[in-house]
Symmetry: C3
Subunit: 138 residues, 3 copies
Amino acid sequence: MTTKKRILSEHIVEPPPGLWSNCLAVGPVVYIAGLTAFDIGEMKTLASDEYQQARVIFQHMRALLTAAGGTIDDIVKLTIFLTDVSKNTDVWRARQEFFTGDFPVCSLVEVKALTRPDLLVEIEGIAHIGSSAKPSAS
Amino acid sequence: MTTKKRILSEHIVEPPPGLWSNCLAVGPVVYIAGLTAFDIGEMKTLASDEYQQARVIFQHMRALLTAAGGTIDDIVKLTIFLTDVSKNTDVWRARQEFFTGDFPVCSLVEVKALTRPDLLVEIEGIAHIGSSAKPSAS
Amino acid sequence: MTTKKRILSEHIVEPPPGLWSNCLAVGPVVYIAGLTAFDIGEMKTLASDEYQQARVIFQHMRALLTAAGGTIDDIVKLTIFLTDVSKNTDVWRARQEFFTGDFPVCSLVEVKALTRPDLLVEIEGIAHIGSSAKPSAS
């Protein structure tokens, strides 16, 4: 049996106990919560448009994957929740600054609202640590 | 190759064949459908507010995980779909009555509607059986 | 470490590099993007109602799973995003034409919009290759 391990990064504030974990690993599989640009420590939203909010989220995902012993390219699945689906290309632009190689599979939908009116983007992910490694030449 | 196994509990009614499974296990990984407080057997919704509907859902998740040989704390990922995102704290309150330790990662969004107007909450989950076990002292 | 492998099918057009993958496999686990009836090659939507759009999506899922060495019945989890939740039974009807045995667990919600106004359905999936195999008699 493989026990779950909470992945912590100094770059992202965890919520208080009894709410949720930002990131859990079970063996090589890593689950990342639906992240937003809301900073729980500062109690404020860190950016005001889709592009910048997505950048904050991907920075946090990168920090969490690094803390888990992997890289952001180990993410194989993303779900992107937007409050305005016409801004999808802004999120795509942010994503292109963080990922290389075969991009994650992705769903993208417009939801009615996120937890705060100033939040425009929420993104969750599943990663497999080591999955982005190039097969070694032989 | 590991075959999928349908997980059944006497506490939750399965839909008729040809629709969906409430819970499937593939080895230690358990997938739980987006559950609601709608009782397929009685053809009625079991509770009328977010807190009570979430309680029904978490009771069902607990029953399914028990039937799968695990516990509700083996859930590592939740997605919560609400029809009124301002009720998020009601769902959090219900969740605190069921989970201990490191809580699952979670996404939470407001959708436009669920399959019936009296349904206010739908929650899906992924669990890894045994993942909440404390590493044994040695 | 298991590296991810992009699954390609001649029956579904991949987006250009830097956007997303339609399907990635990590060992036996297969992640399928939120697929729609939009044909990226032809730049047009292939069907005009929920039933037909869902059929296109399930045809693509079947092609991708076949390319991955499995079958559509290896899908264990679906998430269905609809722009009109009252059309859920049309998607169910399409699904019944593609799946056999224990159906996948499923979430189904109404979202505010998908990426184009003529898109009515988006469906994502997770599969475990070989999971639908019948245990051999012994």
